[in-house]
């Protein structure tokens, strides 16, 4: 190689490096990290993007250059030079990628090991995935009854270990801004660790196909300071009413069952009175007023009961069939089931506080 070629190659190499570093430093391919883990993953990702950009430019550049420079000239019907290969060049492009992937494996391992480490003062939370909602449990005084929440609240800058369970099929726990994922697997308790570092509201998204409602299986996540977190957990404390004797049922008990999110109803249905914020299924506001008029010749009680046990029997217009699980008839005991119906029947003469369109639609079926 003469000095001119070497100088040219040197310039190309410097250009590639600058381009790689530029893309690595300025890209917005990942959401803004909101956890310690997401920050280290982002650093790793951006490092990989530097190398990826350089390789991308080398390959596409050589390809484009060849397409322009080595196209057949008009009238030239001869063949190209019979070059069969070059041991030195082939060895180079075998060895360099091998070294790169070795380095990337080491770096990735380091990042992953850091994510798996036990950290002091770790707060252990619990999440349960079911078709198509998440429900969260928090550590609490064993003498006090505490509700599950449909919204995940976590304290800022506290290492969290999330224990994950699945009630029916596989689900996937993922908060994109936290940069960690873990499958929820029926029959196993899996775990994922993260330390939230930015206050704000995020979403926990299910990424493992779990049925018809997979796309709507998204719950809110709130990262807040310790004081607000403690207040939130405190607000979940309840003093349950006495459970009615077998064969009996009360609206009070039904409201308690719904509020405690025992069956995940609030993940999909909307009822501000109980803090249920679901937007997937029909709203329950004023349900007692219209349930009796929904199906001709059927009283309100039967209508609600059937809608729980056989959800596909009457589909409210505008809502898809097959989203609500069809096994509540087996899951709920009779007291719970009938108490829930009692409670819902009592939802009468309510002022519609919702601004959402759905509620308005439903009150005039």
């Amino acid at each position: 190689m003469d000095t001119r070629t070497i100088r040219r190659l040197g310039l190309v190499a410097i250009g590639l490096l600058i381009a790689g570093l530029f893309v690595g430093a300025t890209n917005r391919f990942l959401p803004k990290p909101a956890s310690a883990e997401a920050q280290t993953v982002s650093a790793l990702f951006n490092f990989m993007i530097v190398i990826a950009t350089i390789i991308f430019l080398i390959v596409e550049g050589a390809l484009l250059y060849s397409i322009i420079r080595f196209r057949k000239k008009d009238g030239d019907e001869t063949d190209g030079p019979p070059i069969h290969g070059s041991a030195a060049i082939e060895l180079t492009w075998t060895a360099i990628p091998a070294v790169i992937v070795f380095g990337l494996s080491m770096y990735s391992y380091q990042v992953f090991a850091g994510m798996q480490e036990d950290k002091p003062n770790t707060l252990v939370l619990h999440v349960r995935g079911q078709q198509f909602v998440w429900s969260f449990d928090y550590p609490h005084d064993p003498n006090v009854k505490v509700l599950s929440s449909a919204e995940l609240h976590v304290p800022l800058n506290t290492p969290i270990r999330m224990e994950i369970e699945a009630a029916d099929v596989m689900h996937g726990f993922w908060v994109p801004e936290f940069g960690v994922k873990q499958d929820a697997i029926p029959g196993r308790v899996t775990e994922v660790r993260f330390t939230p570092t930015a206050a704000g509201q995020y979403q926990v998204v299910c990424y493992e196909l779990c049925g018809n409602g997979h796309g709507v299986m998204r719950n809110n996540v709130v990262v807040e300071d310790q004081v607000h977190y403690d207040a939130f957990v405190k607000s979940l404390e309840v003093h349950p009413p006495a459970k009615p004797a077998p064969g009996e049922h009360t609206a009070e008990w039904g409201g308690y069952v719904l509020q405690s999110n025992k069956y995940g109803c609030g993940g999909c249905h909307y009822l501000p009175a109980l803090n249920l914020a679901g937007q997937v299924g029909p709203s329950w506001v004023g349900l007692g007023d219209r349930a009796g008029a929904r199906v001709k010749g059927q009283d309100a009680r039967t209508y609600i009961l059937h809608s729980i046990i056989y959800p596909n029997e009457y589909i409210v217009s505008g809502y898809p069939a097959n989203v609500m699980p069809q096994n509540f008839g087996q899951q709920m005991d009779d007291t719970d089931l009938n108490s829930i119906v009692d409670y819902l029947l009592a939802q009468k003469n309510q002022t519609d506080t919702a601004t959402g369109q759905k509620t308005a639609q439903i009150s005039t079926p």
């Binding site: 196209r71 000239k73 063949d79 697997i185 097959n322």
Partner: protein, 572 residues
């Protein structure tokens, strides 16, 4: 007699021409007929799978499902799309090309086991019908990966899921028989003078692919058998409630399905080597390295299945799979750089086949890079199960496999039919496909990393703009395939007549007429000393028809003559 001649006359077909046509609808033992049967069948399924993709994209124009289909139908549509594209389009298309071309490329008169060959093809038809019948009895809705418990009897009670398993079982058996046939054919039926390292690279690719199919597909069969037990016989192998393990399914399924990714791309890499060398008029750069990298991918491909399970394997077991997955980048890199070396300083002819091959190169490298990102466990924790993976797999399987399929189609159509595909229409096809592809799949990387999971019928409204862009790209891509079908039919009837060797290629399929006679070659064909000897005096002499010179140089070759057998026909 009258009854047979009258309709023939009225339709303008002579009895001879008619039998030419009807043989494609009958049980034929001719590998060329079987090859065409495979190709026509698979391109028909491409239309069905493509229509389903259009339905998916139409539905994702709005964040809340229900624009065209409800959520349950949506899940069925993408499950069918994946299954059809993989098992009834890409895999059988390559088997179709291989059926037609491998015997020709090695100078054989047919495959080693013609009866088995026909049987492999005729398993595809009932399998396809069974899958489609699933629509009428409640289609499968658990995705093409069919994870348990979702695909189990409790959560997928419709019979479509069972038919899906039976259909894939048949396709698996078809694949295994095909693989045995190719291995024996390549090993035993090369023409005298063709040593292992005189084999065209497409033959090497099919040899490697057949090893993968033979060793991997039995695991699919095993997994499907267990699925059928759970669904039909009341066993609880995958049911955690009674002691089964849902993670057994992805382990066994991916032990087949990751190698299956290579079943779908290694043959395409073989086609690429053929096309690039012929149209750059240069030898393949590093022939042995490219041949051996196919074998390396075949072996390494069995050690990486765990990277599909980075979010559910026990954490420490993810590390070895990360390392093996990263290593796959090395043989893949050897191929990509070797192809660049092939066109470098060549005299490139921009035929449609060449444009699809160059398009493959430009897209596959993106799929390769995102593959390395996904191989890193921590990065995968962001990208797993999202549209980033959808983008990655389409860059590999559409930008890679499908582009190479089209390169092969434009390259070999003159050999198969005796007529060229129209080049002008071909270039329109290429450009619409390329632009539509980019518009469709490039933005998906971003929506995925920002939090849009795959397989969702409804999504966060913040992703709507990117989804509209993707859908527009997909519609362009879909419309872009219509010129190909029109071109194929029009060229078949009235295309320009092609000579025996339209591209001045050195491989053996070009030494016989287009289309080839029933037993492929007149006499025993003599291969060129180097299948890619473009620019060499030997290559020029071989092309000029001076095969004796080729034979003379052959004696200087390093590989000894193998005692290859010619087909005796005893199998028939």
């Amino acid at each position: 007699m009258a009854t047979t001649t009258i309709p023939a006359v009225s339709s303008g077909l002579t009895p001879a021409k008619r039998s030419q046509l009807t043989k494609y609808f009958t049980w034929s033992l001719d590998h060329k007929v079987i090859g065409v049967q495979y190709l026509v069948t698979s391109f028909t399924f491409f239309l069905i799978g493509g229509a389903l993709a259009m339905l998916i994209r139409a539905n994702l124009l709005t964040p809340n499902s229900g624009l065209f289909i409800d959520k349950a139908t949506y899940n069925a549509v993408f499950s069918m799309h994946g299954t059809i594209m993989i098992f009834l389009f890409v895999i059988p298309t390559f088997i179709g090309f291989a059926n037609y071309m491998v015997p020709l490329l090695i100078g054989a008169k047919d495959m080693a086991f013609p009866w088995l060959n026909a049987f492999s093809f005729w398993l595809i038809i009932p399998a396809g019908i069974l899958l489609l019948v699933g629509w009428m009895v409640g289609p499968p809705e658990a995705g093409w990966t069919a994870y348990f418990p979702l695909s189990g009897p409790i959560y997928s009670h419709a019979d479509g899921q069972t038919l899906w398993a039976v259909s894939l079982h048949l396709l698996g058996i078809s694949s295994i028989f095909g693989a045995i046939n190719f291995l024996v054919t390549v090993k035993n039926m090369r023409t005298p003078g063709m040593g292992w390292f005189q084999m065209p690279l497409f033959v090497w690719a099919m040899f490697a692919t057949s090893i993968i199919i033979l060793l991997a597909t039995p695991f699919l069969s095993g997994a499907l058998t267990l699925m059928l037990f759970d669904r039909l016989a009341g066993t609880n192998i995958f049911n955690p409630a009674t002691g089964g393990d849902p993670l057994l399914w992805p382990n066994v399924f991916w032990f087949y399905s990751h190698p299956a990714v290579y079943i779908m791309v290694v043959p395409g890499m073989g086609i690429l080597s053929e096309v690039l060398a012929v149209f750059a008029r240069k030898p393949v750069f590093g022939y042995k390295a490219i041949a051996m990298s196919s074998m390396a991918i075949a072996i390494l491909g069995f050690l990486v299945w765990g990277h599909h399970m980075f979010t559910n394997l026990a954490p420490w077991t993810r590390i070895p799979f990360m390392i093996t997955s990263m290593i796959i980048a090395v043989p893949t890199g050897i191929k990509i750089f070797g192809w660049l070396g092939t066109i470098w300083r060549g005299k490139i002819r921009f035929t449609t086949a060449m444009m699809f091959a160059l398009g493959f190169l430009s897209l596959f490298v993106i799929g390769g890079i995102t593959g390395v990102l996904l191989a890193s466990v921590p990065v995968d924790e962001q990208a797993h199960g999202t549209y980033f993976v959808v983008a990655h797999l389409h860059f590999v399987l559409f930008g890679g496999s499908v582009f190479s399929i089209f390169a092969g189609a434009y390259y070999w159509f003159p050999k198969i039919t005796g007529r060229y595909l129209n080049e002008r229409m071909g270039k329109i096809h290429f450009w619409i496909t390329y632009v539509g592809f980019m518009l469709s799949f490039l933005p998906m990387h971003i929506s995925g990393l920002y939090g849009m999971p795959r397989r969702v019928a409804a999504y966060d409204p913040k992703f709507q703009a990117i989804n509209i862009l993707t859908s527009l790209g997909a519609f362009i891509l879909g419309v872009g395939q219509i010129p190909f079908y029109i071109n194929a039919i029009a060229s078949l009837v009235g295309g320009e007549v092609a000579p025996a060797n339209p591209w001045r290629g050195l491989t053996l399929e070009w030494t016989t007429s287009s289309p080839p006679p029933e037993h492929n070659f007149e006499g025993t064909p003599i291969p060129a000393p180097d299948p890619y000897g473009y620019g060499t005096p030997e290559g020029a002499a071989y092309l000029a028809g001076e095969r004796n010179i080729a034979v003379m140089t052959l004696t200087h070759g390093s590989a000894p003559l193998l005692p290859n057998e010619q087909p005796t026909g005893g199998d028939r």
